[in-house]
């Protein structure tokens, strides 16, 4: 598999806090990479650096052979990186369909309005919101908004999807459904970089896992390797869910 995203030594500081510290990672085509770490480890900041919300203070980000370091978010989106936010960001006054149409219109394929609407309709259906096409996005439940984030990101027909805690706040049934959706997305050939706190999910979904602590990479490897890594266990000391997940896998 060829490398799709290559992050080389990126850093970002907020005042006195080194949020991301010379981090490097790669995502190959069609791969699911899990990004885990304790709260405040800098995971969401890594996403913000990759998709251009902040320019990194050092390092390079290369996506599909193009250097995208420091490019503004809309150009990164155009290159084929889409994102589902941790804190859902629906365009509340627009309908579910229109939200996804925005994603399709301004995404990688830069579609005209009519075609974008068709793509959006398809994605909304796939994600299971087909019966709520014409409802205002603001009126959806939390689980609905999470799905909408995903449908909207997919409507851009990205090559890489950044998923920021899409499972947080969902009940067990909804979590299972969402995991199935993520598997389906990968089967469609889209690479995924995902932040997740639900260990059982990330252990079973990821091909490789990168562990962040205090902005720097603590460990990297297969779920099994990471779960057995003593540094990781120390950083997560007391987090029995990781131990339990390690035993299961």
């Amino acid at each position: 598999m060829s490398t799709l995203l290559e992050v080389r030594g990126i850093s970002k500081r907020f005042g006195g806090l080194q949020a991301v510290d010379r981090l490097s990672l790669t995502v190959d085509e069609g791969e699911i990479i899990g990004l885990i770490g304790p709260n405040g480890a800098g995971k969401s900041t890594v996403f913000n650096l990759i998709n251009g919300v902040y320019p990194p203070e050092s390092g390079r980000i290369v996506f599909a052979g193009t250097d995208i370091t420091g490019k503004p978010p809309h150009l990164v989106a155009r290159q084929g990186i889409a994102r589902a936010h941790q804190i859902v960001q629906p365009l509340g006054g627009l309908t579910v369909l229109d939200n996804c149409t925005v994603g399709a219109c301004f995404g990688r394929e830069d579609l005209p309005l009519g075609e974008a609407r068709e793509v959006a309709r398809e994605m909304v259906g796939m994600i299971g919101l087909g019966d709520r096409l014409d409802l205002p996005a603001g009126s959806l439940t939390t689980a609905g908004k999470k799905r909408l984030e995903l449908a909207r990101a997919l409507s851009a027909r990205p090559r890489l999807l950044l998923l920021d805690e899409v499972l947080a706040g969902l009940n067990p049934t909804e979590t299972e459904q969402m995991i199935d959706i993520v598997r389906k997305i990968r089967a469609g050939g889209i690479a995924i970089l995902m932040i997740e706190h639900i260990m059982r999910a990330i252990m079973s979904l990821s091909d490789r896992i990168v562990v962040l602590n205090l902005g720097a990479k603590l460990a990297e490897g297969t779920p099994q390797q990471v779960a057995e890594n003593p540094d990781v266990i120390a950083a997560y000391l007391g987090d029995s869910s990781l131990m339990a997940a390690a035993e299961i896998s």
């Binding site: 809309h74 989106a77 994603g103 219109c105 301004f106 851009a156």
Partner: protein, 320 residues
């Protein structure tokens, strides 16, 4: 664009607006409708900024005033035909807006709103001290200026018809933008600018473009309006009160809709006419405007049209 009923409604309404006073030869009605038409142009173009992109432009009247000045200057000094002069004014003001917009559109929310007031006041002071435009006394037209249109009486009718044409153009512009990819991007910006950017909407470019586009028709209308008046001076050309009234009209009719601003402007102008001509109410015109705004924001944030849409969801198809 012409496949839906809406644009045809606009054309029919514009024809009625233009022809009824002409065939009844009712000058009083013409003057009242002319003011309403000017307000519709102001409110409807303001809607592109406030209703679509979600940026409150308090100093929107600056486009109208500058358009008037540039047009009258070209007519008096350059002896340019008023139609050409007002179009040139429109292009010039749009270009200036693009320049200003690139700067002040980095601001958001209340800061942007304050900056737009600043732009209006700064331009006003600049014009007060700008001798080629007559400084504080402004520019007067001589009766000769109306000769190319067949005399002053004819000119008044011409100006009326042209302004009605601009009103229809404003409505069709709102309609075309709302049904385009550009419009969808703008509305996304209005809903959540950061999310829109992550989705790929080129926010900076779109905001500057719509700020500039929303300047064009008001500037052309300013040219025609002040040509018709025969005089322009800084206090009336850059009157902040008119700017604020345009916002009231927009909110009254329904910000973000296409017909709403037109409804709002028409109702407000007729109401204002009634208040001004009623003896014991004439001093309360602005008090009532303020109270009206409070009531709308509190009880019907979607304005008249938003309220109608809620009561009869089917009306969305016809009254966009």
């Amino acid at each position: 664009m012409w496949r839906r009923p809406f644009p045809w409604l606009i054309v029919i309404a514009a024809l009625l607006f233009a022809l009824v006073p002409y065939y009844t030869n009712d000058v009083g009605m013409r003057e009242s409708l002319l003011l309403a038409a000017v307000y519709i142009i102001l409110a409807s173009n303001l809607n592109l900024m406030i209703g679509y992109a979600g940026y409150v432009n308090f100093g929107n009247i600056v486009f109208f005033g500058l358009g008037g000045y540039i047009c009258l200057y070209l007519v008096t000094v350059g002896h340019v035909h008023v139609i050409v002069a007002s179009l040139v004014a429109g292009v010039a003001v749009s270009a200036v807006a693009l320049l200003f917009g690139a700067g002040i559109l980095r601001l958001r929310g209340a800061f942007f709103a304050l900056a737009t007031i600043g732009v209006n006041q700064a331009v006003q002071q600049l014009v007060v001290n700008f001798e080629p435009w007559g400084g504080a006394t402004g520019i007067y037209l001589s009766l000769d200026s109306y000769k190319p249109l067949g005399g002053a009486m004819q000119a008044l009718w011409w100006m009326y018809l042209l302004i009605v044409l601009l009103t229809a153009a404003s409505m069709l512009l709102s309609y075309a933008i709302k049904n385009s990819k550009f419009g969808l991007g703008l509305i996304a910006i209005g809903q959540n600018e950061d999310a829109a950017a992550v989705l790929g909407v080129p926010t900076a470019r779109y905001k500057a473009l719509i700020y500039s586009a929303s300047a064009f028709l008001p500037a052309v209308a300013g040219g025609l309006y002040f040509f018709k008046s025969g005089i322009i001076e800084p206090t009336s050309a850059f009157d902040l009160q008119t700017s604020i009234e345009a916002i009231v009209m927009l909110m009254l009719g329904g910000s973000g809709t296409i017909l709403g601003p037109a409804f709002g402007a028409f109702v407000y102008e007729e109401l204002r006419g009634f208040l001004l001509t009623t003896e014991y109410l004439s001093h309360f015109q602005l008090v009532i405007a303020g109270a009206l705004l409070l009531v709308i924001v509190q009880f019907a944030p979607g304005g008249l049209l938003g309220w109608l849409h809620r009561q009869w969801p089917r009306s969305r198809r016809w009254l966009e």
